[in-house]
Symmetry: C2
Amino acid sequence: MATHILTSLALHRDKPVSSSHLASSVNTNPVVVRRILGDLQKAGLVKTTAGKTGGAALSRSPSKITLDEVYKAVDAAEIFAFNPNDPNAHCPLSCTIKSVLETVFQSADRAITKELKSRKLSDLIEMLKKRGVSNE
Amino acid sequence: MATHILTSLALHRDKPVSSSHLASSVNTNPVVVRRILGDLQKAGLVKTTAGKTGGAALSRSPSKITLDEVYKAVDAAEIFAFNPNDPNAHCPLSCTIKSVLETVFQSADRAITKELKSRKLSDLIEMLKKRGVSNE
DNA sequence: GCAAACTGTATCTATATTGGTTACATATGG
DNA sequence: CCATATGTAACCAATATAGATACAGTTTGC
């Protein structure tokens, strides 16, 4: 939904778009959109203005926004999860496994981050245009 | 939990380990362990035997088990999720965005898969041994 | 000044997922 | 035969997410 919203904003090039309008494109409720916009705003990707002619707009050019930023803006969690339970203190494996998995999780995270960093919002716009979607 | 279980099995080298024993190391309930073992068994990574001396054991050498197989065995879902709602038929962007995101999701998936394929269960055992955990 | 059209946010509901637990049928070694 | 396993169903609790309603605060344009 977040990338959908951002591409919509990009296609509107700086004209503020209302959450209702975005919601109808995403096919959801305006409040859901505003919540996502709130996350994107905290991450500095969009700017919103209140009032009659208000709405959301990108705060940077699409070529300066990577999908990694989008991902981290709306989904703070890691990809993999540790066992939330305490380790069994009588078991050496149980006490050590977490530190081992940590290094694995980190490299997986780096792999995803690298991949997403290589994708810019402007790339998505390009792909949309190739499919005939050029404005909205 | 799944990797924890598998490393535990590896440290026991082919001696069947009961779900209760594994559960105490993972600090959870035996049924939870058996559910995970069921997934791992479907994926061909472990073999379980019932009866008094039963339990679970690896069905392959740890050097022949990649973390990618483990991941796919217990978590069939994709990393990223599409907007579950139908597209708004009146909106060209809404109708097209999914196919664009699909290619992004696929390359992200490939990146994770590649990373996890490069990690073998035996690598984890190595790391554990370096930290002083050699049996259990 | 004021109505219209926004945002931001609180609150509530529905739903899905997950882990944990109990219970029990079934298998098997000694 | 019986102790000890697995496999699995059923249920509960906790958590997360989307959606919906409601409303206070902001801003524009008349």
